[in-house]
Symmetry: C2
Subunit: 326 residues, 2 copies
Amino acid sequence: MFCSSVSKSISFAANLKNINMSLVVVGSMAFDAIETPFGKSDKIIGGAGTFIAWCASNFTAVKQISVVGGDFPQSELDLLTTRNVDLEGVQIKKDEKTFFWSGKYHMDMNTRDTLVTELNVLENFQPVVPDSYQDCEFLMLGNLVPAVQSSVIDQLRTRPKLIVMDTMNFWMEIAMDDLKKTISMVDVLMVNDSEARQLSGDYSLVRAAQKISAMGPKYVIIKKGEHGALLFHDNKIFSAPALPLEEVFDPTGAGDTFAGGFIAHLAKTRDISFENMKTAIIVGSAMASFCVEKFGTERLRGLTNEEIKDRIHQFVQLSSFDINLI
Amino acid sequence: MFCSSVSKSISFAANLKNINMSLVVVGSMAFDAIETPFGKSDKIIGGAGTFIAWCASNFTAVKQISVVGGDFPQSELDLLTTRNVDLEGVQIKKDEKTFFWSGKYHMDMNTRDTLVTELNVLENFQPVVPDSYQDCEFLMLGNLVPAVQSSVIDQLRTRPKLIVMDTMNFWMEIAMDDLKKTISMVDVLMVNDSEARQLSGDYSLVRAAQKISAMGPKYVIIKKGEHGALLFHDNKIFSAPALPLEEVFDPTGAGDTFAGGFIAHLAKTRDISFENMKTAIIVGSAMASFCVEKFGTERLRGLTNEEIKDRIHQFVQLSSFDINLI
């Protein structure tokens, strides 16, 4: 017999005051210019850290570590502050420019060409962890230079309860040694399917996850875009669906948003069991499904708790089935 | 709150005598020669109808419609008979040769080249529905010439309770009019993702399913190989996972086996609700996950009920999660 026991709860920002503020997020805050088959954005707000913060702040408070230039709008920072995103760890380099990325998606929306990368303030970014961020229980390392990611871990006097790391193929090509060192320090690594294959040198995702786990992370999440995500731990596997969408308008930030929903659910519930990670992946997937509906962070900005609950409920309906083995 | 109600049961061949024998299967019975990155088979037993029969006969009796040449081993036919596969509708053309297909899979196992196609007895196949097959409640049209599929429907004096159709891109290229006519006559169409896009002319699988449904089938199943399968009906969607495997040894027949498990579960339970179709997709997926473990039908031949139950249980564990929306 299969009957899901009910033990987890998803509550929302209204309860923020009651929540242990122990989630630290490291990630870029940037400008993006995006072209998709459906249109072209202006220079808009982007960056892994930005997407994670916009997403995670629906569930829990966030302590942000990042760097921006003098051209980054103060109004954007103020908006995050009103959402309980602590910006003490965000350096503002008045005389420099914010990181800028421009990319163009192909028709299938799974592949893209980078048109412009201007590192600007990211070039010499040395993160500094404020004292008030010490003793954080949950650390989300958004996709960033691996040495910058590990320097944040090194600065924490007490190891967080859970360290989750996102990364991308780019670092495998130019900084594999640093990347492997950082990977060896974390509990959960999230990569997409082609990155898992590249990192492990194995085509089979099952074996790729085993090989990545042998590098350090006890939990490996493989993101498969429109095909959902897989969570591997010991010999256990969880397969989460993606919501089939009529249109993916702009995939930028979907992976970051997924990461934000995943760690925010864990931080809020303070439960890092495999069972709760499954739930966290559904929360991350639901949040990512919003992200792709509009350019950049636009869709994440107007989200209501009701919409989030409805979307999570859609995931339940999407993947639940009844079965009785006799 | 999400808690799966328990209302369906999976029982097995041991109960065959109690089961209403109302499943008719139409499909090729053939010889295959297969090359994969892992090895090369001899000329072995294959064909959509063969895979469907080997799979479905684990759950219910089967009435088979097909054609073979004088070179098809009698021992193979006898084996199917012992499994409650009725062969009255299988024509044996003593002086002709059985359909032969040879193919070579690429490294990703999702694409293949056809090396040889010898239609032989299939070239002028005119299926004849025996009297004893009339009043069948469930009809499975395995991948075959669309005009042959529809001629079986035409010969049935009473329309079956459910008609399920499998097809492939080949017929879209050489017999689109016949294909659309047959599609308009069925309840459930199953195709893979690229075929759904080709048939509908739409890249989005959600819109592709809507367009295919407008052609006739109230239910559309899109098979995504290692990424599972989607079931569409009205505005409802079910996403079934695939079992992540270390190795796909030979994908030949996986789609046919999926079809066999799907319709056999429905025929056995005689319940064609959307909820039970979800369960049927899990049964089909579990059976297909066995099929790819060895060449051809080999893995399906030795299956025990215990193995099938265990595999279905793996699917439950793979995709279940706990969530509570408050």
